[in-house]
């Protein structure tokens, strides 16, 4: 990504398509002169107005009026990017916005690259890296809870926590260095045990943040939930019940669903992609074989598998054996058609999470609770939403924790020469932690993060 700080950038900041209004955002040193050039001149130019003021203007291309827009002036550093910013709030629909963007570019702005507005905000010190990432999360949030978590992160909760851990470890590293640079007799007694205690406290703090990854992953990326089972177990009926509408064709004929069906729902704040699959059985039908192959593929990717069993059939020891020995996967096992159950199922209660009858009226909220409970076992979704770490943070934090634990292990040995080595490793811990908030400079890192943004942010 090429970034040049001294020019002025512009982009359509709202989604394209039919809408009430659309916003074109312009940021950079020439934002105000450009605004002056593209509005029909009245008694006062936009650049002469105080910041924060809206005025209705005619945006012109030469003599032709291309749109009427509210023009909002924000002067740097008190703006999102920290530069002078002008927003044109024109009529919705892609044509007006495109016209405004064109005249703005003709007047000296250039098209912004993805993430460039936020990158400028970061470069101008308006936010740190973790906060910048939160902007991305907020844009992409697919549920209230995900948005609330991102907002917390944007407001600096995660940054503060990371900076706190970093500062603690800087102090620890300094004390460790002191044991090397000063003779023993000038140091307070028992300095090493105290350093080890503090290091362990920091390690468990890091662990607490690592524990939020699972929730962060679910909130950011959503969960893939696959409904699997043998033909005619009631998979499509369950899909429809969860969606609250008749999405999949339901029939009593085994093998009705031949292809996978995907739908999005939100359960307890977690965005979920729900996949109904072709029933698992031996079949000669080529189309169904392809469908079953897809089922297997989806089952491998799933965060959670809902496995339905038809209770009218006697238990199949092979099927039950598979369910109880494959611990790789999170799984919710549902025994369906319990109203007509084969009595032999009574002795297999251990394998089953819930028994119900989807055809008879069923408490679908209870099923939803079970699904979200399985997805986030150990997490408290009733708790106030809070900042959660991302995959990038997870990688860095877990490496940092690994290094920190290695340092502590070295300090616990009786070999004194390990202290010098440990303090060398301690620098790696700090480097990893500093990379999270951008306290350590990495050129590629910045580019990687900002290139994930859509244009206009």
């Amino acid at each position: 990504m090429s970034i040049t700080q001294n020019d002025t950038i512009a982009a359509i900041a709202t989604a394209l398509g039919e809408a009430g209004i659309s916003v074109v955002r312009v940021s950079g040193p020439d934002a105000l002169p450009i605004a002056d050039r593209v509005v029909r001149q009245r008694k006062e130019l936009p650049s002469q107005r105080p910041a924060g003021m809206f005025t209705l203007e005619q945006v012109i291309d030469g003599e032709r009026v291309v749109d009427q827009a509210l023009v909002l002036i924000m002067r740097g550093p008190h703006s999102y990017t920290g530069e002078d910013v002008v927003e044109f709030q024109g009529h919705g629909g892609s044509q007006c916005a495109k016209s405004i963007l064109r005249v703005v570019c003709n007047a000296g702005a250039r098209l912004a690259e993805p993430g460039e507005f936020t990158q400028r905000a970061f470069l101008n010190g308006r936010m740190d890296l973790v906060q910048a990432e939160a902007v991305l999360d907020l844009i992409h949030a697919r549920s209230n809870r995900a948005a609330a978590a991102a907002l917390d992160q944007l407001q600096g909760q995660l940054s503060q926590a990371m900076n706190g851990i970093y500062d603690d470890l800087i102090a620890l590293a300094a004390d460790l260095e002191a044991t090397l640079d000063f003779p023993e007799d000038e140091l307070p007694d028992a300095v090493l045990p105290e350093i080890i205690d503090r290091g362990q406290a920091s390690a468990s703090q890091i662990q607490r943040w690592l524990d939020t990854w699972e929730e962060g992953h679910l909130l950011r990326d959503g969960a893939l939930v696959v409904i699997a089972g043998r033909p005619n177990a009631g998979k499509s009926t369950l899909l429809n019940a969860l969606l609250g509408r008749e999405r999949a064709i339901v029939s009593g004929i085994p093998g009705t669903t031949r292809d996978t069906i995907e739908e999005d729902i939100v359960l307890k704040g977690i965005p979920i992609r729900l996949i109904d699959t072709a029933g698992l059985r031996e079949t000669e039908c080529e189309i169904e074989q392809v469908g079953i192959a897809r089922t297997h593929q989806k089952r491998l990717q799933a965060d959670l598998e809902i496995y339905l069993i038809d209770a009218t059939l006697p238990p199949d020891s092979h099927e039950i054996n598979n369910l109880s020995t494959d611990f790789q996967k999170r799984r919710l096992v549902i025994l369906n058609k319990i109203d007509q159950a084969n009595p032999e199922w009574k002795s297999h209660q251990n394998t089953i999470d819930i028994q119900l009858s989807l055809i008879k009226s069923v408490d679908i909220e209870r099923v939803k609770d079970l699904i979200s409970g399985k997805l986030v076992s150990g997490l408290d979704l009733e708790a106030r939403p809070h900042a959660v770490i991302s995959e990038r943070h997870y990688q860095l934090l877990s490496q940092a924790k690994h290094e920190l634990e290695a340092v502590l292990a070295m300090l616990l040995t009786s070999h004194e020469d390990e202290v010098a080595l440990a303090s060398t490793r301690m620098r790696d811990v700090l480097d990893l932690l500093g990379t999270i908030t951008g306290r350590t400079y990495h050129d590629e890192l910045l580019n990687t993060i900002f290139s994930r943004f859509c244009i206009g942010k």
């Binding site: 001294n6 470069l123 101008n124 640079d181 070999h415 020469d417 306290r439 400079y441 990495h442």
Partner: protein
């Protein structure tokens, strides 16, 4: 313009000054060494001790490059010790006591032997500037000394004020005058200056001390020496097997004279290092000492409000120790003799600025010193220093071309730090007038590189002292491998004899070959290299040893293999850091053009003018976002 008489003028003949003059002269430059008193050249203002944690590394590096400090300390040493032996090779350090009178005598003899050095006794009052360019210095009596480049190494003498309690004296050292014109002149030229403070303890008569009440601290034999010259002399006398001087297990080796070492008894080699070592002693302050200091704090120059400048945080005065570490019931006091013939004792740890009567009471409250007799009182000294961010890495001033600054004048403390800078300034003054590129040691090449980069990049507002923790790549920058890692610089500078650098190269090659051999030979399913990496293993425990290796080479093999993983880790870090280091900041870059830079960052960058992005990133107040902006800007400038 008349042809200058001198190529280089060095002002000041302390540890920075003599290294600068010797380096310049050894490179072939006609050099004037300007001093107030030729008998004071190389004098040790504080304790006659060289080395110690991290400072020892600088001494080894100077020896590797062709400096004099290591040899001078070794051949005038009267007690040799190794510190941090158990903490691993990266932080191991040598420390020795020199004979206080022999140290400057030897330096003076070395200078006298060099026909290119001319000693001029004078006080410098001004720079001689003709047509806007530096062409020498003007002495306070008005005579002009012409030269093409000038190295300023005036130590604590610029604007020096000595404090003993509420008594104030002018001077650069007790009993020696300071220099007061030059400092004023520099302020007019636009140099930023500041005031720093340092201090020294009283000196006591050795016969007035009761050593029975103190803990004995004997020297080591064979002596851990700094210089290759001393090491060779010792090997000649005692045999090759004794040459691993840093190993604990060799302490008890009996001298086994085989050869006669030439020249002993001259000022250059007054005795063989390690001969007739003398003992130091350890005692401590008492409750009574602390009470006396507390009671008299108001009369101390520091706490009585007479001194406002910043002192050495890491080498605090005894008033500081009592006030800042109130929970510590006692502090160590090392009793260091200043020489075999000299009657002065240096009570290390009692530096202070109290009135003399309080000093006497305070010292006599320490066990073993109840009847201590004073020869000189302790005192604090305030002096001018120049903001070192006004210098390039070559130590040349950014304000006046061909003017170099070295030593305490740049805000450092310690003989070693001063000598390191003096050597670099001397070399670069000569290279400058010859039109050659400056000699700059990187941070990953040596402590001298770390020292100078810290000074010119970050500046300092307290006396700067070297620590191993200042170096990012501590395991790479060991004292034992200094001559190997700095060999290419030594060759480039050209002071170290060519056959000497070839010997070092051969040693490095043999070490490398042996490491490869150990990797390729197996015993019981493990390579010998793997066996050696086990904590309890030494080279001597291995089967199939190469008996032709010297003890020094074996030490390198052991360290390189045992710490291989960590050294590799540091190498990765160095390469990562090197990416920024390689991006040069164009000299014509106008920071005011870059509006995205924050005000603080822009001001700092304008002041320090970093030479590359790596240096820019180390400036305090310049954050990663600023570096990102600069990086983009530089890419754009290149098109």
């Amino acid at each position: 313009m008349s042809h200058p008489v001198f190529d280089i003028i060095v002002v000041g003949a302390g540890h920075a000054g003599y290294e600068a003059a010797l380096a310049a002269a050894r490179m072939g430059a006609i050099t004037a060494l300007v001093t107030m008193d030729r008998r004071a050249i190389g004098r040790m203002s504080c304790n006659p001790s060289i080395g110690g944690m991290a400072k020892s590394h600088i001494v080894f590096e100077l020896d590797a490059l062709g400096g004099e400090l290591a040899r001078n300390a070794d051949y005038t040493g009267i007690q040799f010790r190794t510190l941090n032996t158990r903490k691993g090779p990266a932080v191991r350090a040598n420390r020795l006591q020199s004979e206080k009178s022999a140290f400057p005598e030897r330096i003076q003899a070395v200078i006298a032997e060099n026909k290119r050095i001319h000693i001029v006794e004078a006080i410098v009052g001004d720079l001689h500037i003709e047509n806007g360019s530096l062409s020498g210095v003007v002495t306070e009596d008005g005579s002009i000394l012409e030269a093409r480049a000038v190295v300023l190494a005036t130590g604590t003498f610029l604007g020096g004020t000595i404090h003993i309690g509420d008594q104030k004296l002018s001077g650069g050292r007790l009993g020696e005058p300071g220099a007061y014109q030059l400092g004023k002149r520099f302020s007019q030229l636009g140099f930023r200056t500041g005031r720093l403070k340092t201090g020294t303890p009283p000196r006591l008569h050795r016969d007035s001390i009761d050593y029975h009440r103190m803990e004995l601290q004997p020297g080591l034999f064979p002596p851990p020496v700094f210089s290759r010259a001393a090491r060779l002399d010792l090997a000649e006398k005692y045999g090759q097997d004794c040459s691993t001087w840093n190993n604990d297990d060799l302490h008890q080796v009996e001298p086994c004279p085989v050869f006669h070492v030439e020249q002993l008894g001259t000022p250059l080699k007054p005795w063989l290092p390690g001969d007739r070592q003398i003992d130091c002693y350890l005692t401590h302050t008492t409750d009574q000492t602390h009470e006396i200091i507390e009671r008299n704090l108001g009369r101390s120059a520091m706490y009585g409000g007479h001194i406002e400048s910043t002192g050495v945080r890491y080498c605090p005065s005894i008033e500081d120790k009592i006030v800042k570490f109130r929970d510590k019931p006692q502090h160590h006091v090392f009793i260091e003799p200043e020489g075999r013939t000299c009657v002065e004792i240096y009570p290390n740890g009692t530096s202070n600025s109290l009135p003399e009567d309080v000093q006497v009471e305070m010292i006599r409250s320490i066990p073993g010193m109840e009847r201590a007799e004073f020869l000189k009182p302790g005192y604090a000294i305030e002096y001018d220093y120049f903001d070192p961010t006004q210098l390039y890495h070559s130590l040349e001033s950014k304000i006046v071309e061909n003017l170099f600054f070295a030593g305490q004048i740049n805000g450092t403390t310690g003989y070693e730090e001063a000598a390191g800078q003096g050597f670099v300034a001397g070399v670069n003054a000569v290279r400058k007038i010859r039109g050659q590129s400056p000699f700059v040691m990187s941070r990953h090449e040596g402590y001298i590189g770390v020292l100078i980069d810290d000074l010119v990049t970050k500046g300092t507002d307290e006396p700067y002292r070297m620590f191993t923790s200042r170096a990012e790549h501590r395991l790479t920058l060991r004292q034992d491998n200094a001559k190997i890692r700095l060999r290419h610089h030594a060759v480039d500078i050209g002071i170290v004899a060519e056959d000497e650098t070839l010997v070092i190269q051969r040693m490095a090659d043999r070490v490398q070959a042996e490491i490869e051999r150990l990797r390729s030979i197996y015993a019981d399913g493990s390579s010998l290299a793997q066996l050696l990496r086990r904590p309890e293993m030494t080279y001597a425990d291995l089967p199939n040893q190469d008996f032709s290796l010297t003890a020094e080479e074996i030490e390198q093999v052991e360290i390189d293999l045992k710490y291989e993983g960590y050294i590799a880790r540091e190498r990765t870090q160095i390469e990562k850091a090197g990416q920024l280091e390689r991006i040069r900041v164009p000299a014509e870059l106008d920071y005011d053009q870059i509006r995205a830079l924050r005000y603080e960052a822009r001001e700092k960058l304008k002041r320090i003018l970093p030479e590359n992005l790596g240096q820019a990133a180390r400036i305090s107040g310049v954050n990663p976002a600023d570096i990102a902006i600069l990086s983009v800007w530089i890419k754009k400038m290149r098109g």
